[in-house]
Amino acid sequence: MKKILITAALLTMSSSAFAGAPGGPNCGWGNMLFKGQTGTPSHIMASLTNGSTGNATFGMTFGTNGCSTTGALSYGGKEMVDVSMIMDEFSEDVARGDGEAMTAVAVSMGVEEQDRANFNRTLHTNFDRMFPSEDVTTEHVVATMFTVMEEDEKLAKYTVAQ
């Protein structure tokens, strides 16, 4: 229950950040897995021309897609990469059982090297729970990931904010 409330708070936060920063597709927790990227064409145009698609005032908001300020969000107080920003890659990695996006999520949660294989295996095994349909939201994906990690003796500790 507590987690849902926090998530709701995050939703509000990220959508307000989004409102202030145009051009940031795939932003926030509510993004649907397979919905694709609205707004991408103009983003593509900017980048075809080597334009600065990142944030130039990176003092305040270093590392941003115009959405979350650092490419990281906190979940239940736990800092981690904003999975919605790499959802395409992440879902594919979970299906395959390995990959850079999955490693990035693990690293951002502080999962130690010796537990990564287990992390990969656990997520991969639970693919159907994490991704029950094409309409799944990032929120569901992340919440379920936390649940399956909590169920694992070695991974449970990584779900707790340090």
Binding site: G23, M32, L33, F34, K35, G36, Q37, T38, T40, P41, S42, H43, I44, M45, A46, S47, L48, T49, N50, G51, S52, T53, G54, N55, A56, T57, F58, G59, F62, G63, T64, N65, T70, G71, V81, M85, I86, D88, E89, S91, E92, V94, A95, R96, G97, E100, A101, T103, A104, A106, V107, S108, E113, H124, F127, D128, F131, S133, E134, D135
Partner: protein, 628 residues
């Protein structure tokens, strides 16, 4: 406060400046204490230190007092005339560091440099806590710096020269994930509704401000590998921890700071060289580029100066993955993959089911890549979403079967260099001639393909002088020449096109005339055998030629050609016809063959027949080309 301190007193060859008390209490008059800091002439002289000049982007001759900073932003300077006066800026910086201690946090690299030059001065400065900067550094936790090259992409003129940016990797990144590394990019800050051509034109003249921007690296992967389908090449630099430290300190100083952005010289690649030069002044990379800066050339220089550490990492684009997966499938299976991406029920057909699980999975992988590729730039419909998800579940089911990985192609920095000179001897219309050609950049259809995309040609600034009968004449001056032969496949149908602007000599009615022309074409091309191209284009041409009846004319036309890559080199055969509206018809037949002797030298032969209003003239030539 800055204004109060703007007047400096020079006493006996010394400068002292006065520190005002912070205006803590507005009810009492500001007390000016004469807590002077003395700078000797020797101390002042450090303002001409090369690193100081680099940190502030001064260009010009400091001895002549004729300097100006590339930075076009008041926030970067403490002195009012800091953009033009390194010494005033140096003194104003010291003053600011002393009087407004927080300003030290905005310019940590200047402070580091000061500490090496004038430790006694830096020790007298007030201490300050730079929490924001420290937090940023901690967040980056950088151990190494990587220079990333985004290769060119067919069909996008402004990407054809490639692009470079820098990535900061944390400790032990190989075991972790470069996804979370930070990328720093210098680019023009352009409005989102500007198209690519308009950008190029305006960018040539410095029409946009440029600035540094930061993204997590996964954003760059998405941008280049996925959205633009450009391969990434990652060159790890061997900077020492101190050098990395100074670079980061300086990058922090550039937040939101505007530079003028020029497409050809003061561009993304140029600004990155400056960063490396600041980190390691002895490398002096900037000295290698007095003029045009082509991104891949900067990679070459960085490599030649011994800055590249170990292996170069190749990160193929989604399109490269897709092509590779589809090309590995037998034709029947490739058709199945294309069909499956359009209709999930294909998996229920006997044709699919009869295949081994491994073959099925390779089809599924390719099909998934294809559907992602095709819907990359748009919002996916519910049907597409559903089909993608069904395919992903099939991948999950047999996850031990993986698709083939693309092999690393020829490294782009090892390809031929981008400036070219050639000498040609030949016979034209029964006269012997010698041609001298200089090409400023970059690559044509017959140049050695190693490290370049086949079917892509981009040349700017080509000039040919012809010596005939002891006289020298301008034969050709080409501003721009682009050809993009992007082959159509069973799953993808891109257009091919060309554009050319220049002056060229035409032989007509027994005399030669210089014609100024702009021409373009659009059409289709196919790859029949590996690395060949067969193309057809409709063309259009506008020409100013005093040999024409009205000086001006317009000519619609057609062109067909075949480009072949073989162990003997590259050849092209093409036929074109242009029908001018005032009645003249030009028909051209051309054969050209190029043999790459090495990445530096090539030999070419060509033969052509031009038919201009039923009069033929022929030309043959043999040329030697050197790339440098």
């Amino acid at each position: 406060m800055k204004k109060q301190l703007a007047s400096l007193c020079a006493v006996w060859g010394m400068v002292f400046f006065v520190q005002a008390e912070p205006e803590a209490n507005s009810t009492t008059p500001t007390i000016v204490t004469k807590q002077a800091v003395f700078l000797s002439a020797k101390q002042q002289a450090v303002a001409s230190d090369p690193l100081w000049l680099k940190l502030l982007y001064y260009k010009g001759d400091i001895n002549e007092g004729d300097v100006e900073s590339f930075v076009d932003d008041d926030r970067f300077f403490f002195a009012d005339n800091g953009k033009f006066d390194p010494q005033a800026e140096f003194i104003a910086t010291l003053k600011a560091f002393k009087n407004e201690a927080n300003s030290q946090c905005l310019f940590p690299a200047r402070k580091k440099w000061l500490a090496t030059q004038l430790p006694e001065v830096i020790n007298s400065l007030p201490n300050t806590d730079c929490a924001e900067y420290d937090e940023w550094r901690k967040d980056l936790n950088t151990e190494s710096v990587v220079m990333v090259y985004a290769s060119s992409q067919l069909n996008s003129p402004s990407s054809m020269y490639g692009h470079t940016f820098i990535r900061f990797d944390p400790y032990n990144v190989e075991k972790h994930s470069t996804y979370l590394s930070h990328a720093i990019n210098f680019g023009a800050n352009i409005p989102p509704d500007v198209n690519s051509l308009a950008y190029t034109i305006k960018g040539l003249g410095g029409g946009y401000p440029g600035n540094f921007a930061s993204n997590p690296y996964f954003e760059k992967i998405k941008e280049y590998n996925r959205a633009e389908n450009r391969d990434l090449w990652e060159y790890k630099l061997n900077l020492t921890p101190d050098e990395v430290d100074l670079m980061l300190a300086h990058v922090w100083e550039l937040r939101g700071i505007n530079f003028d952005y020029y497409f050809f010289d003061e561009n993304c690649a140029y600004r990155l060289l400056e960063l490396i030069d600041i980190a390691r002044p002895s490398s002096n990379l900037m000295a290698e580029f007095p003029g045009v800066v082509i991104p891949i050339d900067t990679i070459r220089v960085v490599r030649d100066k011994g800055l590249v550490d170990g292996e170069v990492h190749y990160r193929p684009s989604h399109r490269t993955h897709l092509d590779n997966q589809l090309n590995h499938l037998p034709k029947a299976n490739r058709t199945l993959a294309v069909n499956l991406s359009e209709d999930i029920n294909v998996r229920e057909t006997d044709e699919f089911k009869e295949l081994s699980i491994e073959q099925q999975q390779k089809i599924v992988h390719a099909s998934y890549r294809l559907i992602r590729y095709l819907t990359n730039k748009e919002e996916r419909s519910p049907e597409v979403s559903k089909r993608s998800f069904q395919l992903l579940k099939m991948i999950r089911k047999h996850s031990s079967i993986l698709p083939p990985e693309p092999e690393q192609p020829f490294r782009p920095d090892l390809g031929h260099e981008t400036t070219m000179m050639s000498v040609q001897v030949g016979e034209s219309n029964d006269e012997i001639f010698t041609d001298i050609t200089y090409r400023a950049s970059y690559h044509d259809l017959l140049d050695n393909i190693d490290g370049y995309d086949n079917g892509m040609s981009l040349n700017m600034g080509t000039i040919t002088l012809r010596v005939v009968d002891d006289s020298v004449q301008l034969q050709k001056a080409e501003l721009l020449d682009i050809t993009s032969l992007s082959p159509r496949k069973d799953y993808f149908a891109p257009w091919s096109w060309q554009a050319n602007i220049g002056i060229e000599r035409h032989w007509y009615q027994q005399e030669e005339d210089l014609a100024v022309q702009a021409s373009g074409g659009g059409g289709v091309s196919w790859e029949l055998f590996p690395e060949d191209r067969l193309y057809f284009m409709a063309t259009g041409r506008v020409e100013y030629n005093e040999g024409l009846d009205n000086n001006w004319s317009v000519a619609p036309g057609i062109e067909a050609g075949y480009l072949l890559t073989s162990p003997l080199g590259k050849s092209i055969f093409k036929i074109s016809q242009q029908v001018f509206i005032d009645g003249i018809t030009r028909i051209g037949y051309q054969f050209e063959h190029s043999i790459a002797v090495s990445s530096e030298y090539a030999i070419r032969i060509h033969a052509k027949r031009n038919n201009n209003d039923d009069v033929d003239y022929d030309e043959f030539g043999l040329s030697a080309r050197v790339y440098f």
